[in-house]
């Protein structure tokens, strides 16, 4: 201990203190601060990069599943649309058929009615014609017959005979 105390040199202590203080101040300013800042920043950067990569991966996954979902939805929609279209087509065809049948039936009906009415009117016309013709004939005959007494009587006879027969 005595030797240690004897060895202690105040001058060396003094210089050591000055050198150490100056060294600490200089190093903190010119080395440790920039170095520590850089290291910390870099580590933060790496951490952030890893985190964002992980996030991107998750997003990618989500996107992928979303896409799949969309695709599935689109497919389902397409299927539904095709189904609908087929149904509509079938319905339209059926409707058209029915309509056509109805229309056809109606037209036939109308045609029949027209034919009937035409026929009736034609019959009426013919009846008229026949009646007028027979009247004319009857007139002409009467005129001819009445000019001759025998024939008139014959005729009346004959007609009376006919009436009896009727």
């Amino acid at each position: 201990m005595d030797k240690l105390i004897n060895d202690f040199s105040f001058g060396l202590f003094f210089w050591q203190a000055i050198i150490l203080v100056v060294l600490i101040v200089l190093l903190v300013k010119f080395a440790w601060k920039p170095i520590m800042t850089t290291i910390t920043e870099r580590e933060e950067g790496i951490k952030d990069a890893l985190l964002s990569a992980e996030n991107a991966r998750k997003e990618m996954l989500a996107l992928k599943s979303d896409n799949q979902k969309l695709l599935d939805e689109a497919r389902a929609e397409r299927d539904a649309m095709i189904k609908d279209a087929t149904a509509i087509k079938d319905k339209m065809i059926a409707d058209a058929k029915e309509e056509a049948q109805v229309q056809g039936a109606k037209m036939i009906e109308q045609a029949k009615a027209t034919i009937e009415s035409e026929k009736n009117s034609a019959m009426a016309e013919i009846k008229n014609q026949v009646s007028s013709l027979s009247l004319e004939i009857a007139e002409k005959l009467l005129k001819q017959e009445l000019s001759n007494k025998e024939s008139q009587t014959a005729l009346v006879e004959k007609m009376l005979g006919d009436v009896k027969l009727n």
Binding site: S9, L12, I19, L20, F30, E41
Partner: protein
């Protein structure tokens, strides 16, 4: 023929290459005894002896030489020729405060052989210390063989100061260049910086954050990093043949420990002082007993720091130098040389580890003490 040719060539080559070894071993005794004289002369070349002028061959001389190495010195000696009294190195400025500032070169002492006469005052170098003296250079020694002469205030730029300046410059250069590399190179280290960056991260993740805590460590990183690299560089410089022994000097370790002590006390929070002066959770008489113990504890912590670093580095230097000295002290060079070199090599490798370890432990304990002072104590499980 081809198959048997190759092993023959190999065998011949081996025999020829081994031949000189046998030849050497045959005349071993001859060659060793022949070269022992040369080695001794070389040893004298390598050693420097300021106060023990002469060859360092005897046990006492070796002890004196080691003791001298452990001390600070006023000139930077690389090696000296003890027998011829020649020293190779350079003198450093001596700065004294003795009734005014006195600056002169240490060459005036002529390696402790002469008195330095500066402006009419005489100074004598005795066992690495400067004493005021008179024209005759007389020193009055006390019972412990210590001079009682007046010691002037000594602010000399000694060998250790120069070494510290060099280490400080080295640390500063290394880390400013790393900071510059970050700026230039898109925040990535380059070249040697790739070695330094993991060390910084090591200090942060293994020392600062576990001991001080995630929230508060940032403030102390500057001190911890500086101290770690400064001590480590100085320890490693001590391993070089320059003969520097800075961290094995008590004044240096006292200063370092004092810094930790001051930082600890000034960054301490209320909880820390409360635990020292009025320990919560114990009966009042215990509180009174614990107060001086805890108060003493604040002093023993940095004391342990300074002694640990000083003792480890000093011990390492003493062991290595003693092992090398075996060559010069021992009488049988043939047996001493391999043992000495082998052991020195072994201890040197350990010392390189110790150089790192002591810097690490100093930083680690410093951060531990700081951590204890700044931590928010959890009263339920901490007492």
């Amino acid at each position: 023929m081809v198959i048997s040719n190759k092993p023959l060539n190999l065998f011949l080559a081996i025999v020829i290459s081994i031949l000189p070894l046998f030849g050497f071993s045959n005349v071993a005794s001859d060659s060793v005894s022949h070269s022992s004289e040369k080695h001794a002369v070389e040893g004298a070349h390598k050693t420097d002896a300021h106060h023990a002028v002469g060859a360092v061959n005897e046990k006492d001389e070796v002890n004196a030489y080691i003791e001298h190495h452990l001390q600070d010195s006023y000139d930077f000696n690389f090696f000296s020729d003890g027998e011829a009294g020649k020293h190779y190195g350079f003198s450093l400025p001596v700065i004294l405060w003795d009734n005014g500032l006195k600056v002169f070169s240490s060459s005036k002492f002529h390696n402790a052989e002469e008195l330095a006469n500066v402006d009419g005052s005489y100074y004598k170098l005795h066992h690495g210390k400067i004493y005021s003296s008179d024209a005759t250079g007389k020193l009055e020694l006390d019972a412990h063989n210590h001079p009682t002469n007046n010691k002037p205030l000594d602010f000399s730029i000694t060998k250790n100061v120069v070494s510290m300046l060099f280490a400080a410059f080295l640390v500063f250069f290394m880390f400013t260049s790393l900071a510059k590399a970050y700026r230039k190179n898109n925040s990535m280290p380059k070249g040697f910086g790739r070695v330094l960056e993991p060390l910084i991260i090591f200090i942060r993740d293994e020392i600062a954050i576990p001991n001080i805590g995630e929230k508060k460590y940032r403030k102390f990183m500057g001190y911890l990093l500086t101290v770690f690299f400064f001590i480590w560089i100085l320890n490693l410089l001590g391993m070089t043949p320059l003969g520097i022994n800075v961290t094995g000097n008590i004044a240096v370790t006292i200063c370092l420990a004092l810094f930790t002590f001051i930082i600890t006390q000034f960054s301490a929070n209320k909880d820390y002082w409360k635990h020292i002066f009025w320990m919560p959770g114990v009966p009042v008489p215990m509180k009174i007993i614990l107060m001086p113990i805890e108060l003493l504890g604040t002093l023993t912590k940095p004391f342990a720091l300074l002694i640990r670093l000083f003792a480890n580095i000093t011990a390492g230097h003493v062991v290595i130098m003693s092992l090398i000295a075996m060559i010069f002290v021992g009488k049988n060079l043939a047996s001493d040389l391999p043992i000495s070199i082998g052991l020195t090599l072994f201890i040197s490798v350990i010392e390189i580890l110790v150089a790192f370890l002591q810097a690490f432990i100093f930083t680690m304990l410093s951060s531990l003490f700081i951590g204890m002072a700044v931590q928010d104590h959890d009263h339920d499980d901490h007492h």
